[in-house]
Symmetry: C2
Subunit: 381 residues, 2 copies
Amino acid sequence: MDGTPGLGEVSLGEVSAPGRVAGPDEGISTAELALATRNHGLPLEALAHDTSPPGLHYVLVHYDIPATDPDVWRLDLDGHVDHPLSLDLAALRARPAVTHRVTLECAGNGRARLTPRPVSQPWLAEAVGTADWTGVPLAALLAEAGPRAGAVEAVFTGADHGVERGVEQDYRRSLPLGQAADPDRGVLVAYAMNGAPLPPQHGHPLRLVVPGWYGMASVKWLRSVTVTDTPFTGFQQAVAYRYRGVTEDPDDPGEPVTLIAPRALMIPPGFPDFMTRARVVRPGPVPLAGRAWSGHGPVVRVELSADGEQSWTDAEVTADPDRPWAWAAWRAGWTATPGTYLLSVRATDATGRTQPLTAPWNRGGFGNNLVQRVEVHCLAE
Amino acid sequence: MDGTPGLGEVSLGEVSAPGRVAGPDEGISTAELALATRNHGLPLEALAHDTSPPGLHYVLVHYDIPATDPDVWRLDLDGHVDHPLSLDLAALRARPAVTHRVTLECAGNGRARLTPRPVSQPWLAEAVGTADWTGVPLAALLAEAGPRAGAVEAVFTGADHGVERGVEQDYRRSLPLGQAADPDRGVLVAYAMNGAPLPPQHGHPLRLVVPGWYGMASVKWLRSVTVTDTPFTGFQQAVAYRYRGVTEDPDDPGEPVTLIAPRALMIPPGFPDFMTRARVVRPGPVPLAGRAWSGHGPVVRVELSADGEQSWTDAEVTADPDRPWAWAAWRAGWTATPGTYLLSVRATDATGRTQPLTAPWNRGGFGNNLVQRVEVHCLAE
């Protein structure tokens, strides 16, 4: 097959543009839509499940889902360590396994609600999921490898490859060694999700799971863990995933995106209109329920408002103390009478962090944990 | 919790608006985005899998995924029959089971490429998937129930409930009895996908699978099959899923949407830019591969163009004659030299149907099988 190039030579910089924010009246672009049709959120009625099955748990893939072969897959643990490891899946499965129930959320959740809208994966509020992840504690593997004096970080490399804002890369992130090697942080090298091998889109055959952190830390298709004696300055650490543009300084390096801010979501009550997802109920008692989580500490309070956030009422919150990294369940009663309502819900965690009533803007559109507002119409009968 | 209604009494007509097309410069709206973040397509690199795992197989849910309990689920087969049936899952599983590999595609696939854009689920090209579906042939169940003389259709009712363009409904569709009861059409009442119980989003615990037809016919969360002696005129049959607006007649009832039009898709070569999904390759041989399918007959030809559709080259097509309802695989070679290309691919089936170079418009945005065009940049080195 012959090909006729449409242009002359191209460079990565021409193919892959800098980040930008949408114009004042700019709807979601085809590029944003292409991301939204590949990646997907949790349909909010699936908050009813304690754990989220594949296809309901949110997925965000930076590049392509790589083709991987579990029979030849190896995890290399090397760098600033005394005893480098190179383990196949059988060697990992032969080690003591643990299972943690962990709620993961995309750092960009809520981005499409910001004004101006940072142009990237356009999440509204649904980029969340909870699963039982089974694998080997990273702390145990690091102890086996023996970090040398002066080690400061562990750098995680995935097998997904692409270009982003002009930088060709394998997806790569780091954690401070103090977090990576802390048994209480519970970081896992996981090979199973909800009792089955990882699905392709969730990192098959091996991924990192970092409880409490936004999802960008939980590197999928994990190939290597490299212990370093200097902080990692790669693209996903130093350029992307920073809270920037909060100050006026154009050279602001920003603060790193780390732990998940508190959020509550409700199972939308009643039934939906297909096109708008507005909710319809009939007069009478309407049970309200959902989930709430925070990476900073346990959720201690969930509040609801049905009067445009003039008053708030406490919901009943049920958390499992043995599963500190999983979302809590909440429920509340509401009696609907005919009319149109905006139901709002917000979570507060044990550190006192709560959800704002106006969205906190930053250039990358990270950590927008604005309260959820659900439009509900109660018919006359 | 008290509530203060924002408006007085509301009606379904106020909550649920008529269909519309987007304005000339109207980007994807928040309502369309809300659908795109819930439903999801097949990430195109997943065309590499013969069957699509949950989370990669496309999903379109009209209303909410219903909460279902397999322990009490019953399928009622009634209406214009001599021996009505009411079967639990154990009774269905006790009957002879068959497994069919079936490619399903949403009738709205390609809608977001139309101008003007019908406002609904905004698919680009990825609303497809292939699975091994296991269950009981519908023909066998219908034979057991014994349709009476004069029976013309089978009406299928799902458990998902909502409102659409002002009409409150359970999702409901029919098939002509000749198709429903034809063993060669292969319609299944399925309880397993790829060897596992149906996931919630694919119809757990029971769904219809109608080979060759667009996905709207394969009713999920199937509760009943009602044989009728008059044609079904419900919303999803007579109002939605019609090719309308092809003529100038505003009262045009349209033609029903039925069989899948031919389409080929390619696994995007090289690696992507995160934001635009444009592809990057380096000079040299670039293997191209993908899938092709048609509901009208076997795919007999797949052609590729790398020169803006001035010339086309045949790809090698491999179909499994024992799996007539599954996509065929195709592959071709291409040698990339520096420059920017639009790679195009099109399928032709045994009936001579092929894919158009300009999108065939209709008001609902159905059946747009425009050729796929993938932008590829070959770097100098």
